[in-house]
Symmetry: D2
Subunit: 287 residues, 4 copies
């Protein structure tokens, strides 16, 4: 599948987070430990916020992250208070820039690890449920981007957890109508540039791994010798598919069926469940 | 927009047709004379039939054709009796392999120069008209591929001119419902590996250029010194966006509103007109 | 050949310079007016200085600039007081990232439009003249990068005009020993992050075009309505292969055989001539 | 490092060898078992002979083999009696097409797994030893291509084993002059379109894995149910970095310090040793 990382807090040089840790995301691109695939070499993407524009910047490319020089260049020169990074292992859809995460809509970014099962069977029905006014924004062919546009359709900009619950409910409903037992597998990260919402859920209750870092001041007390920790705010957080190192006391598993929210003044762990979409009958007359 | 070339006849080394002519398709990738754009550098593709498989082979890439070494390698080593070649100038959709022509479905290939006007407005409605059983085969995001899948939906494999007429009618109907005055601009090449159907049509009756070569024996009499002409069958034909050279007596314009068909024992020029799609009301209840 | 642009002055969003002008460098990638080639689609590069690192950042890729989304993303989000941009039209060497300009050595950047004539004949002799301690830094196969490493060998970091004069002298000497009448054609931009040195020279005294902008306060008086001009320092300068627009009074030709230097407190135009390299005999015993 | 495969014998669809086996080269691109790296995703190449040209055709690209559609297309449509395939794991040099194996010179192809140790230290000295008349043909920056050009310099076209012995001797001599203990690590495949010469050698006598297949008629007797084996000539051979499957009796290790030669009427295993290059003194006056 894929691996990803979300950073929020004190502005940091991307390199510090992307390349420096022992088991960095770049390391995971070849040697993932907890993923379905050890190799995540089917494209990558980073998205970061700057002072220069409302919308985040994206760098996405179709080769592996581990040998991409432009990624290393940006990591060495860009500092940001909030960024997403994603390495892709395609589950079948084409390796192309428009299929690389994160996806963007205005100020919003979205990235995903997992899959909609039997996507070729349900893709058309799901696309039909995307708000026609949003439809033209879909540029790629992944299940992930359709999930993003469904969440936007269902109110992501107003209430992210509710919109994701509706999206997940629809994906499960449509999948089951097509005979799929476990339609959805997802860990998600979503941001509007200030907060990060991370979700861990799967229809079979066997979700991909997901971790968040402890409060930075607690971690600092445990590891006073780690230079990076000295300069960051207590609220600085990482949410990651796999721990970036094996420092004790740093990484906490996001439980199944839950949503972790971090941001200024916020560090919340909520239960998450899809909102059943019984209203969808699969009848093209009443979609 | 784009430029393309279709070859049918005596098996020939691709290089002879793709690179050797004065104003070859490779030359057109930088210096097109009759196109809307002089530069066609947003990807390319070739598709060719061999004895090894029922389906044609494709080589497609996202860089310009003029500097692509793999294309030159294949051109120097592949001989084929029927091949398509296409150089792309994007009208806005992403530069990615899945958006490069020719497109393929089983034994069929399809390539296009032109555009569906205001495609972002009509894309969803057109996608809905694609046979759901075919829908999962759509891999890219171009108007051209949607045209191909609509034609497949409307019986391309049974009757290409009729299916293309229905497709064109639907594109015009949907476009006009969305307020587009001239919804369709197209020159098309379609093949099943034996015949080539080429279409020239636009809603505004100002279609992109399209030419077909005269019978090879007639051309040979005119130009007895051209080595290539000595070894090819009388039925060998080229259909091209732009003449590949300025040899007199070789190139004939495909008239507006017409369909040229070539193949074993066939060299036909027919009128072409879209089949009006008044049945489409834009009402999602009765699509 | 190529086209390039060097900016120095008030920190500016790259987009303002790279994309916004009527005849921007991106426009020149398809429609160059003064170059040998109208199409410059064989790769591109930008290099820019930030506060985050001593060395400049590079983004280089092998496709055309005009359709590159990562370039547009960076242009929309990166502000810099000094940056280089280059679009390439290969004169035969491979289209690969390591052949894209600008080249970098420590804090230094170098970009080139032109060619060493008959480079395949002289490449080995020129490579032999590169300081062995620097040799391992050569990553690509262009004449341009060899020119950079020769200039470094001859003291670029101490005295750029003198080092470039020695480099040019050597290139001419070696070329002529190999029977090349006009060995060198160059417009060059070089920077250490503070000053920009631009050179215009060719052995045949028919050099590629090169222009520099007038003092920003003078331009502002002429064009009080141009928003961009209101916010930049008097010393802000552009040096470009082609004027970016047709505003009167803005663009001045760099004369043949000269070197333009800009930077804080510096705006100088000097004569330039290669330093004859009669010491090079072509004898491998005394290279 | 890398993994490679050489096929010689009855013309076969490339797919049969490249994709179909359980542990095919494509599988090895992500899950190599015997290599230094499990992931070989830094580019790939295939080279094959056809009836259309004297020189072999090359398809090389910089992404991973496992997701490359053009490679799969060619594998499905190209039949050849002799082909090379290579997947790359860069040992530091740039990921670019000109660094992808196989390399070609006229009718000759060359591919390599291994490395010249401390190549940055010895590169210049080794390049100086390449015949100046051949020098311009070097297009990339790998140690492997320099080894090829050294072998060409030392008579590869006349006597491959002798030329490779001279090349290896020079690499060891130059390396040791620079203080490198174990200068060379190599498994090599070389062909002129009829025979394949494969070498296994390393300065430390701990060479990368290399295997050759038994005579096809012997294998057929062992595995009468394997369809592919029924249709191939007794002399059909594979030489591979790793066995493509675990069929007993098929794969034989090429011993350390040896050269395996296969071709029409030839199946020979010879000892191999570098030819000491004491004549090289490192003195630029007498190179």
């Amino acid at each position: 599948m894929c691996r990803w990382l979300a950073y929020s807090g004190t502005p940091v040089l991307l390199d510090t987070i992307l390349y420096k840790p022992t088991h960095s995301l770049i390391d995971q691109s070849r040697f993932a430990k907890l993923g379905v695939e050890t190799t995540n070499g089917d494209g990558f993407g980073i998205g970061w916020y700057t002072k220069e524009a409302e919308t985040p910047a994206l760098l996405r490319d179709i080769g592996p992250a581990w040998n991409n020089r432009n990624l290393q260049e940006l990591a060495n020169h860009v500092r940001s208070p909030l960024f997403f990074a994603h390495i892709r292992a395609s589950t079948g859809t084409a390796v192309q820039q428009s299929n690389c995460h994160p996806f963007r809509y205005g100020r919003w970014m979205f990235m995903h690890n997992g899959a909609i099962a039997a996507f070729h069977l349900v893709r058309r029905d799901l696309l039909l449920l995307v708000d026609p006014a949003l439809f033209a924004g879909i540029e790629g062919t992944t299940d992930s981007e359709v999930m993003f546009y469904l969440a936007l359709t269902f109110g992501l900009e107003q209430d992210p957890p509710a919109a994701v619950a509706r999206m997940a409910g629809v994906v499960e409903r449509v999948g089951r109508k097509h005979g799929v037992e476990f339609p959805l597998q997802m860990t998600l990260a979503i941001t509007e540039g200030e907060h990060v919402w991370a979700f861990r859920y799967s229809s079979e209750r066997a979700s991909r791994s997901l971790f968040y870092s402890s409060r930075a001041d607690d971690v600092r007390r445990l590891h006073p010798d780690v230079a990076f920790l000295r300069d960051i705010s207590p609220e600085t957080r990482l949410i990651v598919s796999e721990p970036l190192d094996d420092l004790p006391g740093v990484w906490n598993e996001v439980p199944e069926d839950s949503c972790k929210i971090v941001g200024p003044g916020v560090a919340e762990l909520r239960p998450f469940a899809p909102e059943p979409a019984d209203w969808w009958t699969g009848d093209p007359v009443n979609p």
